[in-house]
């Protein structure tokens, strides 16, 4: 089938699965099955559709719509193809996972959950392929609303309030995007087609305003600091498989939007756009991971880490846009490629981590890491998958997170060698910030894994936990294999993503791989071979094992001690390092950065408070209207009524008098 037909099949299947799940709402197990299997089939079609255009072809579908100014145009190019593959792949895994996970929500409307989840996936797919501003906004709104209903699914106070903030900020963002599109449409002579936008070439000030509006609008969706406030509240509130989709792919739509407007529609622009994106990326990545480190709620920690990774992606995007603006194809392609690779990788490992967190919460019924501990013994599969995800997100070789960060460093290095002073100045600073982010991420995920899965258990639930059902394990294992595969197969993956980046930028392809090694361009004097690192790590681990084995006969077998050493005191579970105390040194050394958040939170509190005031004021002004306008009118009408009532006294002789009077008056009229 042609790519576009596969795409339509995927969307149709999502729609059918959504409706089927809603209609079968009464019978919960069939609703879960329809939503899960339907979603899986739709995702397979989506993967096939996306993969078939990665090579560089472009497929377009143009159908007339009810509105003469807005054609219904779908366009599959390599960039949207990549996004389509990422969305569909994660949706496939989430669908498998949901087959068991959603049973947790039995009796609370699982049919509706399947409906919104499939609608959410379909909306995301349509957003990335829409090629008309009006339809783009319609699908963008559909995506926001579907995810909003998933956020408030729990219906408790926290979920509703998180959902409200999400709703508010998402629509503020949509407003900025709308304004950007209207400005573009104005420049394109009234057409809302992206094709017309591409051909428009607005003057530089207009283009800059459009870009900044789009950056703010899509940045809100992506969770870019300081527009992130909704994200660490909304993502944890949603059910875990929906959080995986929101953190794994929905926020990437924000990055996609920035690329769409900045690179695809406006064609590059000026250098300060790239510097602006780079600055946002640096600030976002460092601050977000510092905040993540201070969390003890596992899902909030993961949500902040998503913000951090958006920052890393934006560093790549910014570098690419700088390269595009100053016409240095190597820097442009390298930066964009690093960003797209990290976008793909983050979807895989963050999806995995959210599913892992979902599995833990499924058994523990709490998100507080201080109440967990020791789950590696009782949930071995979940533990192993979560560990792979943690190593990947901490950018540790040879897994996938490292490969894309390596390319980000190489892009920054190439930019630092580039011509202009601004590039030479900004890139090494960004690289240093990336290094700090990397070290903090290591600490953050040692803490997350260590507090949940290691050491002694700290609650009764943790003692009694056992492994989650098979579909959930399968979902996690698939993504864990993805982390390993995308890391070790970098020499195969990198050229594909590189060609997508080059096609998006309309620039010549850069050589990214040679044999089993990847490299940043043909002329680079450096390379990286993840397969070789993996082979050496495994082969050299044999050495200590062999040495230990030669002395095996000389020593007694291993034994378990009664308790860890506590200076002669009886150790208890409160002595072990907790999630809070583990991060205490960082809170001490980086106190000013936490102070920023307090200030920012106070500001957002003021905004929330101000909104409350507005509501209260509206309530107070309502009676005012009543008194000034509604009540007098009502009173006047009532008074007239009373006067009229006197006419109808019920006395027969009075009615006779009325008739005689009326006759007399008519007689007088006719005589005149």
């Amino acid at each position: 089938m042609a790519p576009i037909q596969l795409l339509l099949v995927s969307v149709a299947l999502s729609g059918l699965a959504a409706l089927g799940s809603l209609l079968a709402g009464r019978s919960e197990s069939s609703a879960i099955r329809i939503a899960g299997i339907g979603g899986l089939l739709a995702a397979v079609a989506g993967i096939l559709a996306g993969a078939s255009v990665l090579g560089g072809q472009v497929a377009v579908l143009d159908v007339p719509s009810p509105f003469p100014f807005a054609h219904f145009v779908l366009r599959l190019d390599p960039l949207s193809g990549l996004l389509l593959v990422v969305i569909s792949a994660l949706a496939a895994v989430v669908s498998i996972y949901s087959l068991a996970y959603v049973r947790e929500y039995g009796g609370r409307g699982v049919g509706a959950m399947g409906f919104f989840l499939n609608l959410f996936v379909a909306a995301m797919i349509l957003v990335v392929v829409a090629d008309n501003a009006l339809w783009f906004l319609v699908f963008f709104e559909m995506m926001t609303l579907a995810s909003y209903f998933l956020v408030i699914f729990d219906q408790d106070a926290e979920a509703v309030s998180a959902g409200f903030i999400y709703f508010l900020m998402a629509h503020a963002g949509s407003m900025a995007i709308m304004a950007a599109f209207f400005l573009m449409a104005n420049a394109a002579g009234g057409s809302f087609d992206f094709a017309a936008f591409r051909a428009a070439h607005p003057s530089e000030p207009v283009a800059s305003i459009v870009f900044v509006l789009a950056l703010l609008g899509f940045g809100t969706k992506a969770g870019m600091i300081p527009l992130h406030a909704w994200l660490p509240r909304a993502h944890p509130a949603a059910p875990s498989h929906a959080s995986a989709l929101m953190s794994g792919v929905m926020i990437k739509i924000g990055v996609f939007g920035i690329l769409k407007v900045g690179v695809d529609l406006l064609g590059g622009g000026v250098m300060w756009w790239g510097i602006l994106v780079l600055t946002f990326g640096v600030v976002t990545s460092v601050l977000a991971i510092i905040y993540a480190l201070a969390e003890r709620d596992i899902k909030r920690l993961l949500a902040y880490s998503s913000v951090e990774n958006i920052g890393i992606i934006l560093i790549g995007v910014g570098t690419g846009m700088i390269g595009l603006a100053v016409h240095q194809p190597l820097i442009a392609v390298l930066g964009l490629m690093a960003a797209l690779y990290h976008l793909l990788n983050h979807a895989v490992f963050k999806g995995l981590l959210f599913l892992g967190a979902g599995s833990v919460v499924y058994r523990m019924h709490t998100k507080d890491m201080e109440k967990m501990g020791g789950l590696a013994r009782t949930m071995p599969w979940t533990s192993l998958c979560f560990l792979l995800g943690a190593v990947a997100v901490a950018a540790i070789p040879p897994l996938n997170g490292f490969v894309s960060e390596w390319f980000t460093y190489q892009a920054l290095f190439a930019a630092a060698l580039g011509g202009t002073f601004l590039e030479q100045f900004a890139s090494p600073i960004a690289a240093t910030a990336l290094a700090v982010t990397g070290a903090l991420a290591v600490m953050c995920f040692v803490k997350a894994y260590g507090e949940i899965f290691s050491g002694a258990s700290r609650s009764r639930h943790a003692d009694q936990a056992h492994e989650v059902p098979a579909p959930m394990v399968v979902g996690m294992v698939v993504l864990a294999l993805g982390c390993v595969g995308l890391g070790l197969a970098a020499p195969v993956v990198a050229p594909v993503i590189g060609s997508i980046a080059a096609a998006t930028l309309h620039m010549p392809v850069v050589v990214f791989a040679n044999g089993a090694a990847v490299m940043p361009g043909e002329a680079a004097h450096t390379s990286l071979s993840t397969p070789l690192i993996a082979i050496l790590l495994i082969a050299l681990a044999v050495l200590p094992v062999l040495i230990s084995a030669t002395f095996k006969a000389a020593r007694a077998g291993a034994r378990r001690a009664a308790a860890p050493w506590a200076c002669g005191y009886l150790p208890d579970s409160h002595m072990a390092v907790s999630a809070n105390s583990f991060a205490q040194p960082i809170r001490m050394f980086f106190a000013p950065l936490y102070a920023i958040r307090r200030t920012a939170d106070t500001a957002s509190d003021h905004i929330a408070h101000g909104f409350g005031e507005l509501v209260a004021e509206t309530r107070r002004s309502e009676p005012l209207f009543d008194r000034a306008l509604v009540a007098p009118v009502a009173e006047a009408v009532g008074g007239i009524g009373h006067l009229l009532q006197r006419l109808q006294s019920g006395n027969f002789s009075t009615y006779c008098l009325y008739i005689v009077t009326a006759l007399l008056i008519l007689l007088l009229f006719t005589l005149r």
Binding site: R377, P397, L536, A541, R559, P564
Partner: protein, 312 residues
Amino acid sequence: MPSLSQFLLALVQALLLFAAAPLLSGILRVLRAKIHTRHGPGVLQDYRDILKLMKRQDVRPPAAGFAFRLMPIIMVATLLTIATGLPIFTRATPIAALGDLVTIIYLFALLRFFFSLAGLDSGSSFAGIGASRELTLGVLVEPMMLLSLFVAALLAGSTNVGAIGAAIAAGHIRSVGAVVLAGVAFAFAAYFELSKLPYDMAEAEQELQEGPLTEYSGPSLAFINWAMALKQLVVIAFFLAVFLPFGSATGLSLPALAIGLLVFILKVGLIIALISLVENSVARTRFRLTSQHTWLGVGIASLAFVFYLAGL
């Protein structure tokens, strides 16, 4: 892809470092005793300790899981992998695909990840605090280390460690001031990685009962002690490869390699004499004041960056 001889050289140098690591810690112990004006054990004492520990029973705390058990092996394997990628006796990296500075820094992160995780996994409070400190030091030192290397790499035009060393040895460097300052900053950062006084925060013996090592015993402890010595040697070799590459072999002929080996031994001897002087003349820094020291290092690295921008 590396040729067979390059691959062999990589393995040989890693194994040589592995074999010599206990000697390094032995020499440091002897020097320490000399400075304290006491007799102390011989230079081979650490080999004897390792041999003895190999024959002792492995006792694990009740909460320990697979992270605790696998850590010593992962630690040795990671350090050996780093050692294969560094240019040690030669100017160029034996395996270029392992010799990128970002790769090396992140392989050290792999080490730190499992070292700290094992501390948490043991369930001991001392090990947990040690783990937290180890990672915090990583956060504080990382900017210094990366920025100083980045400046050197910019001057050499490549992020490959061997290429940077070759450019510095050949004198193809635009600004000498920047490279000297970067070298100072990197040496400072590397000193933190040695876990020596005054910065042995994570394994502080008197304060934290050796931190993440508290609960280890038998062969596991032997491998960790061995790996800690190997880490010191690898960090020294990393510094020498980038900032003091003078005298290393430019080709792969045997005489050149022999001279490279000799020069390497001389340079390491000089460095450990310096290390011994520092570690025996200072007291441990208070942990909460460490950030002041690291900020100084970041300051030096930033100065190197400014010198680079100015071309001084």
